[in-house]
């Protein structure tokens, strides 16, 4: 049945599916894993970096991008689609600031991105964007936010979430290990993000990139050497937890 209704974005199937939107969700799964955690005083984005070709400039392969000084986004899916959305969101952030003299709220920019994505699910001749995004930041009221958008144009707030490859495994890990107490401490929130990623990142810490925003502070990106300290602590303290979860996941 799918083959009769999956060619045009503007056609519903008899059972109410928009197959092109659902297929776009599959494109998201081809991107590497992204995890987002909302702490009490910090928001963390962790990504699995894909390996870069030998002659490629690593700086041009980025999964985490700043939309404004106080909000950043990580995506999984089609690189080119992400570039278009990020450009539009960055322009919207500046336009908003110039027009109303206030920075965008996290919810506003998330709604903007989600509305843009939804438009592309309702026009003929255009396909949906093949990316999901995690958007984090602090509003002026000092409250940390984490939102997720997907190709259908929906958006929701989360305490912690994952997108991309093996997102389900990471989400299960977060459901078991996330608690308000666990993320009340900045360092513990960062460790939780790293532990969640290590569940699915095979090559260990060298392929992980982190970005954090603390209240009233700009975005800070963690390069690999900075992560080493966290990884060493995790290896020494949390090895039984890794093995136990991995065993339970594989049975």
């Amino acid at each position: 049945m799918a083959s009769r209704y999956d060619r045009a974005i503007t056609v519903f199937s008899p059972d109410g599916h928009l197959f092109q939107v659902e297929y776009a969700q599959e494109a998201v799964k081809k991107g590497s894993t992204v995890v987002g955690i909302r702490g009490t005083n910090i928001v963390v984005l962790g990504v699995e970096k894909k390996s870069v070709a030998k002659l490629q400039d690593e700086r041009t392969v980025r999964k985490i991008c700043a939309l404004d000084d106080h909000v950043c986004m990580a995506f999984a899916g089609l690189t080119a689609d992400a570039r278009v959305i990020i450009n539009r969101a960055q322009v919207e952030c500046q336009s908003h600031k110039l027009t109303v003299e206030d920075s965008v709220t996290i919810e506003y920019i998330t709604r903007f991105i989600a509305t843009l994505k939804q438009k592309y699910t309702q026009s003929n001749g255009r396909r949906p964007f093949g990316i999901s995004a995690l958007i984090v930041g602090f509003d002026d009221d000092g409250i940390p936010r984490l939102y997720q958008t997907d190709p259908s144009g929906t958006y929701h707030a989360w305490k912690a979430n994952a997108i991309g490859r093996s997102a389900k495994t990471v989400r299960e890990f977060l459901e078991k290990n996330y608690s308000e107490d666990a993320v009340s401490n900045d360092s513990e929130a960062i460790k939780l993000a790293i532990r969640a990623l290590l569940e699915v990142v095979q090559s260990g810490g060298k392929n992980i990139e982190l970005a954090i925003i603390r209240r009233n502070q700009p975005l800070k990106a963690f390069t690999n050497p900075s992560l080493c300290g966290y990884l060493e602590v995790l290896r020494s303290l949390h090895r039984p937890i890794f093995s136990d979860f991995a065993i339970r996941r594989n049975t």
Partner: protein, 290 residues
């Protein structure tokens, strides 16, 4: 003869009966049929599955399993299954290549740079030197529908022995898995098993639920084994990444505890490292998805 409005000269049909010109037409039809037949014959010859000896690369006169009696036959179909067996099984013992099945079809897209023609694909057969009745087949190419029966005949023969056990490993995209759940909620990669009636051992994972079906060469092998009452089991890994991928290849690990593969994989840690290197080496640098 008659002229049409457009200036063409066409032969008008004659209702009076056969004319002398009909002999020429008949000759032309026969010539065309001969040409068609020749083209079809050449195409069939091109699509023939040939089983070749390892050393001499000459064709085997009998089927592979008639020439080499076998008690365990493990077949890996697809690049992830092949990578898994290469890392975990072939690395743990000394395997000798005994032959290969050579075939061509439209799926063989790579070109031979020297001769500028599509290269042929191979399925390679090995046996364990310490126990020559243990056979392994690595098939990374696509075997087309019309070639599957030939492949089975050339490998198993027309009257296979029932005292062997066949294990097939392959992958399929998770979107082919029919379930009432959304594919987003499935824990891919995951394993499912399908076995023949005469296979009595327990499977290492859940059995494949209805209405899911198996396709291509794995289905042909399983059907063949079911007809000939050969104990056979297929382990099908549903994954969302069809290219060579570490997570997908590692999803076959539970199969190592099965009777067929028990004892064949020795150093798991070292094998995992080998698999990592294999998947990294073959990683195609694609910037489409990030």
């Amino acid at each position: 003869m008659a002229a049409t409005f457009f200036g063409e000269v066409v032969k008008t049909p004659c209702r009076a009966g056969a004319e002398d010109d009909d002999d020429e037409e008949e000759e032309e039809r026969r010539r065309e049929a001969l040409e068609d037949r020749e083209v079809r014959r050449q195409l069939a010859r091109k699509r023939e599955v040939r089983l070749l000896r390892r050393q001499t690369k000459t064709a085997l006169e009998v089927s592979l399993l008639e020439k080499y009696p076998c008690s365990k036959f493990i077949i890996a179909i697809g690049n992830n299954a092949v990578a898994f067996l290469s890392s975990f099984v072939m690395n743990s013992g000394v395997w000798e290549e005994v032959g290969c099945a050579k075939l061509w079809n439209e799926w063989c897209r790579t070109m031979d740079a020297v001769h500028m023609c599509p290269t042929e694909a191979y399925c390679v057969f090995y046996h364990l030197k310490s126990n020559p009745s243990v056979f392994l087949c690595q098939c990374s190419c696509y075997v087309a529908e019309d070639q599957q029966y030939q492949w089975l005949e050339k490998v198993f023969g027309s009257c296979p022995k029932k005292n062997m056990q066949v294990t097939v490993l392959t992958c399929r995209h998770v979107t082919d898995y029919k379930t009432s759940e959304s594919t987003g909620s499935l824990p891919s990669p995951f394993l499912r098993a399908l076995k023949t009636q005469s296979f009595k051992d327990p499977a290492c994972c859940s059995l494949l639920e209805q209405p899911n079906i198996v396709h291509d060469l794995p289905a042909a092998v399983l059907s063949y084994c079911q007809v000939w009452q050969i104990p056979a089991i297929l382990y099908l890994c549903y994954t969302d990444v069809m290219k060579l991928d570490l997570l997908t290849a590692e999803a076959f690990k539970p199969v190592l505890s099965s009777r067929s593969l028990k004892g064949l994989a020795k150093d798991i840690a070292h094998s995992s490292e080998t698999l990592k290197k294999l998947t990294t080496a073959h990683e195609v640098q694609s910037n489409i998805y990030t």
